[in-house]
Symmetry: C2
Subunit: 379 residues, 2 copies
C-alpha cells in the first residue's frame, strides 16, 4: 500500500457522480482535480465562535487543538494575566478553569444556562456549581456573552446582559460543531447538529464516501437515535471501522452510550447513558434515585464522598443512565455502568454484578449497585 500524503492541500469540493475532488495546492496556489475510488471524510469539528466584534483579538483563545493549547500557555507565560474570563462551563471551560486556578489566576466563568455542565442532571450540576464557587471561582450563571470592549487589538472587558467584566485573557469553551460543510455542499445527508449521517459501517449516503470522527454522527445505543459526540475515543473507533470497510474487511461500529468524564481540582465528574433532560425529550417514563456513598468504606483511610444518580425505565426496569460526582477514585467507576448499558441490562441484572471488593478499593456494595437496588423499589 502506498500513501500519498499531500500536506497543505485543501479539498474545495467533492463530486460524487464523477468520483473526483477539486483540490487546492496551498503552497503553489493552484487548483487541480483528483480521482478517488473510496473517499473518507475525516474533517473533525470546529469550535463555536459567536459572531461578535472583538472575537479575533489576540487575547481570545480557543482550546480545541494542541496548537491552540500551546498558544494559550505561551500567552499566559508572557502576559501573566491577573484575571481571565472563560465563556462556557462545559468540559473545556471547567478544565481550563482548573488550569488557571492552579496558576493562581483570578478567573470568571460565564455560563448561559442556570448550571455548569448542562449535560448533568440539575442536582449534580448544583453540586458542581457549589464546588466551583467554594474554590474561589467567580461563577456567573444565566449570563450570556454579549460583546467585548477592546483596546489596541486586545479584549479589556467582557460584556454580558448584566455585567462588564474586566479581563486580561478570554478563553472560549462554547463547544464544537461538526465540520461537514464540504459534505453538505455535495449532497451528502446530514444528521444531528449537522454531523455527517453514516450507517454502522461509517458509510455516508453515497456508497463510496465514508465519514469518521468528530464530523460524523454516532448511534446512541440507549435512545436508539443518532447523536453527535465529539470525543477522541469515538473518533478512534469510527476511524478503525471506516478503514477496515474501505480496505475490504467488514466491521461495524455499534454506537455510543454517551460516556464522558472530567475533573475540577479534587472533584471528579462522569456520566453515561441518558440524563434527565434526554429522558424527558424522549418522553420515556422513568424512575431516578440519588445515592450518597463513598469511594471506600468510611472507616478506611482516603475514603471520599461519592454521589451516584441513576435512571431506569418505569415498568421494564431497563437501566438508562448514571452520573457520578465525588472525590478521587469515584468517576472512572462509570465504566461499569457504561458496560451495563452496552449489555442492555435491567436493574435486577445490575444488582448481582460480581464487582471487585476489598476495603482499599470499595465498600461491599458499590454505590451504583445500591442505586440500582433503590430504583428497583420504585419501578
Amino acid at each position: 500500500m502506498q500513501i500519498d500524503a499531500r500536506i497543505r492541500h485543501e479539498v474545495l469540493a467533492i463530486n460524487p457522480a464523477e468520483k473526483t475532488l477539486r483540490v487546492c495546492d496551498l503552497n503553489a496556489g493552484v487548483e487541480f482535480m483528483e480521482r478517488y475510488d473510496q473517499l473518507l471524510i475525516a474533517t473533525g469539528a470546529r469550535p463555536i465562535r459567536p459572531d461578535i466584534d472583538g472575537i479575533d483579538s489576540v487575547n481570545v483563545h480557543d482550546v480545541n487543538t494542541l496548537a491552540n493549547g500551546t498558544l494559550l500557555r505561551q500567552t499566559i507565560d508572557s502576559i501573566r494575566p491577573q484575571h481571565a474570563v472563560i465563556v462556557g462551563a462545559g468540559y473545556i471551560g471547567i478544565e481550563v478553569a482548573e488550569a488557571l486556578h492552579l496558576r493562581g489566576i483570578k478567573t470568571t466563568l460565564v455560563q448561559r444556562g442556570p448550571r455548569p455542565m448542562s449535560m448533568l442532571d440539575d442536582e449534580l450540576g448544583d453540586d458542581l456549581a457549589k464546588i466551583l464557587v467554594e474554590s474561589g471561582l467567580d461563577l456567573r450563571l444565566n449570563e450570556r456573552l454579549e460583546g467585548f470592549v477592546t483596546h489596541n487589538g486586545k479584549v479589556t472587558e467582557v460584556l454580558t446582559e448584566s455585567s462588564r467584566i474586566k479581563t486580561d485573557l478570554v478563553v472560549l469553551g462554547l463547544g464544537v460543531l461538526p465540520e461537514s460543510r464540504i459534505a453538505d455542499a455535495c449532497g451528502i445527508e446530514l444528521g444531528p447538529k449537522g454531523s455527517i449521517a453514516v450507517d454502522q459501517h461509517q458509510q455516508t449516503s453515497y456508497a463510496d464516501i465514508w465519514a469518521a470522527g468528530d464530523c460524523a454522527q454516532s448511534m446512541h445505543l440507549v435512545s436508539g437515535k443518532p447523536v453527535h459526540v465529539a470525543m477522541g475515543t469515538v473518533a478512534n473507533k469510527q476511524g478503525r471501522v471506516a478503514g477496515m470497510n474501505i480496505a475490504g474487511t467488514e466491521a461495524r461500529f455499534p454506537g455510543v452510550v454517551g460516556t464522558a468524564i472530567t475533573k475540577y481540582l479534587q472533584t471528579e465528574i462522569s456520566k453515561t447513558g441518558l440524563g434527565e433532560d434526554e429522558i424527558s425529550a424522549l418522553a420515556l417514563e422513568s424512575v431516578s434515585v440519588t445515592v450518597e456513598g463513598s469511594t471506600l468504606p468510611r472507616y478506611y483511610p482516603g475514603s471520599s464522598p461519592m454521589k451516584v444518580r441513576l435512571h431506569a425505565e418505569k415498568g421494564t426496569a431497563r437501566f438508562l443512565g448514571a452520573q457520578i460526582i465525588g472525590g478521587q477514585g469515584s468517576a472512572k467507576r462509570i465504566d461499569t455502568a457504561a458496560t451495563a448499558l452496552h449489555a442492555g441490562f435491567d436493574l435486577d441484572q445490575m444488582l448481582y454484578l460480581d464487582l471487585a471488593y476489598a476495603p482499599p478499593f470499595s465498600g461491599v456494595w458499590e454505590p451504583l449497585v445500591v442505586a440500582a437496588r433503590l430504583a428497583l423499589k420504585k419501578i
Copy 2:
C-alpha cells in the same frame, strides 16, 4: 415479624423429615428440640488449620474473623515481634504481609506452590513474587509447612522440608473450607469443596432448607459449573436472595464470575473470570494476550504501569477472563471486565465499549480493550 435471636445456642443436628433442630443452650448446658417451617443455614467457613503439633500455640494466629484480627493486633502490640512467619501466600497472606511490612516487622512468607496467589496466571504470579521480594519480604516458594518447634507454649521455629525459620509470631493464611458439617450430617447434598449445593433460589436438596454465604456454593457464570467462593459480596447477595425467597418473594442469584482484588503496598492485583489453570481444567481452547499499558497516558503526572492479561475462547471469541497487576488506579478496572463477563460479551463487543476517557483518568484506549483487540487477531 418477630425474631427470636438465641445467642449462645448451638445447633447440634437437623432433622429434615420432622423439621426439627436439636439445640444446645450453651449458657444453661441443656439440650432441647426446636421446630422450624423454613431453615436457613448460614454457617460460614472455617480456616484451614493443618493437624500439626504446636498449631494451638498462643502466637499462632488465624485472621478470618474481626475478633481474630483484633487479637493479632493486640499480640503484635504486646510482644513486639522482631520476626513473623506467614504460612500461605493467598489474599490473606499477602494482606497480612503488607500490614507487617508497614509495622517494620521482618517477615517470611511460606508458600507451598511455585508462586504467590495461585489463582493468578503464572506470568502475573511471577511479577508479584518479584515485587514481594523487592520490598524486603523473605519469600519461600515451593516450601510446605511441616512442623513447629515450641517453647513454653509458643512457637519459636517454623519447620519446612528444607528450612527452620526462627520466629516470634505465626499467621496462618491457608484459606477456608465451607462449614457444612451439620448440613452433611443430615443428608443435604454437597457441592464443590464440601460447600452446600443450592439452586438459584439458594434452596438446598431439601425444599424447606436454604443456605447462603461462605457455607454455600455459587454458580460460575463463565464455566457454567458450581464453585465455592468465600467472599463478603457474594455472601451478601446470597443472603438477600435466600431471605426474599423464604419471605415469599421470588428472587434468583444468577452466580459469580470470580472477581477478586487485593493490594500489596503500591501494587494492585485483580482477577475476574477464568484463569489459565481453570481454562485448562475445563479443556477449553483459548487464546491469551498480555498487554503492558499504563493507568493514565504516559505523559500525565501520576501514570503507573498496568499489565492486563486476557483470555478468550478460540473460535467463538467469547471473553473468558482477565487479570490486572499494576499501580494505583489499575486493579478496580477489573469491574468493566466482570460486567462484560456477566453480559457474555465476545471480544468484538468489548472493542467498542464506550469507556470514560480523559487524560487524568485513562488513555484513549483502555489496556483491557487493547488486549481484546490483540486477542481478536489470534482467534
